[in-house]
Symmetry: C4
Subunit: 228 residues, 4 copies
């Protein structure tokens, strides 16, 4: 897992011994994108067209908790996708352990729609609301944790782009640690007061609406890929 190449030279397939064949990030991103897209769309599958009759419009309206579930799930999965898109510029290679950590992260992304639906579909029920919210906030914390594990694994295996300024990488590290710590704290808090735990967890999510810091390179920034 050491790395002695000149960063200006492109990486080679046999470069990180103990990590299988080293490849670029594109295939990892394609698998992730397909999985993000499916997880994003699944809550729509729960929507059933109401029976015909005079109250059809009202029945369409009564589905609002399912619309909310879709929107909430789209917000969370969409924001994770936007930042995963960004981190695809942060990593330069993908080896075996980084892929395993990616699968762990994607396991959380594939699952998150269910706790989201559990919370949104029972938001109006005074008895089910509290356990559903706790379940949701815990699932958000598990997803944040899986993201952090992925990041730490990529750092440890040398898959992070070695052309980035080390100070920039440290700032990114602190940001991910802080967001995960807050998400785990929110999960603990939710057991005491679910409204407070939920508020903290959603605040962390909304924080990700802000653009991440533009990467800083030691030398000249690499070309944006995909240029013909």
């Amino acid at each position: 897992m050491t790395q002695t190449r000149d960063p200006q030279e492109p990486p080679r397939m046999d470069e990180h011994p103990g990590e299988g064949a080293v490849r670029g990030t594109q295939r990892m991103e394609i698998f992730a994108d397909a999985l993000f897209a499916i997880a994003f769309t699944l809550p729509v599958l729960e929507l059933k067209v109401p029976e015909p009759g005079p109250h059809f419009a009202a029945h369409l309206f009564d589905l609002w908790p399912l619309y909310l579930a879709y929107l909430l799930s789209a917000l969370v999965i969409g924001l994770y996708w936007v930042h995963h898109h960004f981190s695809g510029a942060i990593y330069r290679t993908t080896g075996h352990h980084f892929l395993l950590a990616t699968v762990l992260f994607l396991t959380a992304i594939g699952f998150i729609g269910f706790p989201t639906r559990a919370f949104a579909e029972r938001i109006a029920d005074p008895e089910a609301r509290e356990p559903a919210a706790i379940f949701y906030v815990c699932a958000l914390a598990a997803t944040a944790l899986a993201w952090l594990i992925k990041w730490k694994t990529g750092c440890a295996t040398g898959d992070v782009d070695d052309r980035l300024d080390p100070a920039y990488v440290r700032r990114l590290n602190r940001k991910y640690e802080a967001a995960t710590a807050l998400s785990v704290f929110a999960a603990g808090l939710a057991f005491l007061r679910w409204e407070a735990g939920l508020a903290v967890a959603l605040a962390v999510i909304l924080f990700y609406l802000r653009a991440p810091e533009t990467p800083v390179y030691v030398g000249r920034a690499p070309k944006a890929e995909g240029e013909s």
Copy 2:
């Protein structure tokens, strides 16, 4: 969000400060394509094989509103995909805010199958038809609006290809504005007369069967990508 590069040079990762890492359009297109493909296929999931018996053929035939739902949804999502494919030649980079706007647009695409089914599956019911049609026309208007927001965001952040002729970009802008205005007008009209609103909304869709204008560049047109 300013841009001072020579357009003949390829863009670089750190080029649009405040937009995270700037990348090409490919990954955005892959996520979009996966989501388009899922949204396209989901209405088929509603089709259940009829029970065996002497009326099997008739029961297969009775599913026609679900076939119609699939075809109508394939038409709308397919046309949006064809034009999204085209707009992938219009944009050159993808930054944070453009990705957020893309997620908003894809939220609409992921959802549009449900109002389509609500309308097509209740088209023969005199009571449900009107609210279902209004719901459908409103969803089409929301999708057109999300497309326009994506376009306007891409223009504002400098993600539109800077090698395009400005007059060409202005014509594109007017076209998207006109189509969105008509779609929103159709939604309003549908509350008064649903048949009229639906007709206007479908006319806008059918208009997109026509090829968009071939792009005009200030210098020589860039190579079609993907050439070996």
Copy 3:
């Protein structure tokens, strides 16, 4: 839709006026692949785990028509994918009308799983078997027809690779025409004798297990893409 470029030069974005922006085939292939993958996997969704109890093994076995539906659907969709992979080497560019024809073809691919299931799940029912088989053979014919329309459109718009030997393109054309004619004939035959129609339709499918002819170029064959 004319084409005056030297075939050794790569195509350019503005090259086929009236076709929008001309791009390579990659994005069309990504959308197609995602849709193929979803259509391929959907029949598995119909499989429900049997209730517990002493006859669990027998109930697992009783699901055989659904296993058959999956295998039959995987055979047909898989073979179309293998040949679509090949035709991705035959086309060089994608313009507006070719994309429209691709959407039409993918509409058929997304749907084909349903008639497949209707036939396989009712194969043991003496009353439902015949209409289900006719429905299936007609759907196969519609898919073959959509493939031919896609091919003819690509020929007409100049999206077929202009470096291919014209005699080779003519042989491909005859092959697709023959396969489609046979599939449509099978659909007509199925109304008279469903077993005969089904046999012809499946023979056409099985014919596609054979490798297509290796492309013949006027000059030197292009590089296989994806080489680093």
Copy 4:
């Protein structure tokens, strides 16, 4: 299926006669990734939000066999994906017969979620547990066998990267043969003692948590793809 090219030169489209057009591995990987992603996510679809009421938390907890099904399925499909990612560096081209073998392998991947669910959802039922476990272990063996068929086909058609050290390719061959033999043995054993068969089958899976051997090339290793 012979191969006389200098391995330092990139492969060309017409290079393996009898295999259709030879292309790189990228499109095969995109179709595989989409299918892996769908198969990965489908078990989440089985999760239904419990009815509201005082026992909501307990009902959420009672779904644990379905959570287990998702995790077990994610482990198996995720590990196959990680190794399929790696084998994407082992193959250099894709021809007709290798694609057919890939479709066979993906048929197994698309199906594996169902036996996984059958086993995990009935793990607490004393009557259904044994047949469900046998079904699961047999499905794992069929998947391993399909992987081996894919590998052997790729070797026979010359799609394996000809720049790899032959001794390295032989070691890979022995590893895949051993893993498949063990998986098939586990399936046989499961009919005698399901616990023993399951233990062997899962041991083979867990073995794949280890990184595969880094590829060894005759000359200099190729560049990791995806570098701008």
